[in-house]
């Protein structure tokens, strides 16, 4: 286990999380959230939790993002904060 990569991913995860909640365009925020999920999934795979990683990859980065996008397209992309 190379803790450099570990730390890098963790840092990226935090950056993605902050970006997700600060970006005003909801569609972008959702996509970044997908990235966040995917990074999370990497992290867990690296920690040995393959099943969880698998699930997160299919659900968090996949279906969840699509659902978000579907909703946003039916509502509005705009966010004041």
């Amino acid at each position: 286990m190379i803790w450099g990569i570990d730390l890098l991913i963790l840092l990226l995860v935090v950056i993605c999380a902050i970006a997700t909640i600060t970006i005003k365009d909801l569609l972008s925020a959702t996509i970044i959230f997908g990235v966040y999920s995917f990074l999370m999934c990497l992290l867990w795979a690296e920690m040995g939790a393959v099943d969880v990683a698998f699930t997160e990859a299919t659900v968090g980065a996949g279906v969840s993002t699509i659902l978000f996008i579907g909703t946003i397209l039916h509502t509005s992309r705009r966010s004041k904060d």
């Binding site: 099943d51 699509i66 659902l67 579907g70």
Partner: protein
Amino acid sequence: MKILQERIKHTKFGESLIIETAIRIMVPFIQLFGLYVIVHGHYSPGGGFQGGVILGASFILIGLGYDFKTSLSRMQEKTNIILGNLGALLYTGVAILCALMGGLFLDYSALDKLIPMGPIEWRSFGIFLVEVGVGLAVMSIMVSLFWDLCSGGDLDEGL
């Protein structure tokens, strides 16, 4: 003008031959993989839930690549709901069946009285059964979530 609008409505916007073909080729493999993940959950990562999501994703992909109507025609809404119900029913039914067969709730080895094949083997098989149930339910619900959320609940116009 009106005719033009009609025509725009009928020519499926946002579709290209490449995407359609790619999806047409990919979907069966994705579904196969989904089934593999469900069935092979005992020996590799995955299981009912992940496989179910993948199966569902294949239908979602149809909905994304083609249009809404096509995905609805591939999987009837009614069938979908019945499948989801059957999945949940399979799980709870097995659980109850274990209790009715004289064991405890969800004690798969009690099913040995039904078909004798060894209590431990039954545990393995019981897990398989419920995984299939989970897979069915999850697939159906994922598709249903997609349909409803991406069409705003009307099931006519999708993404």
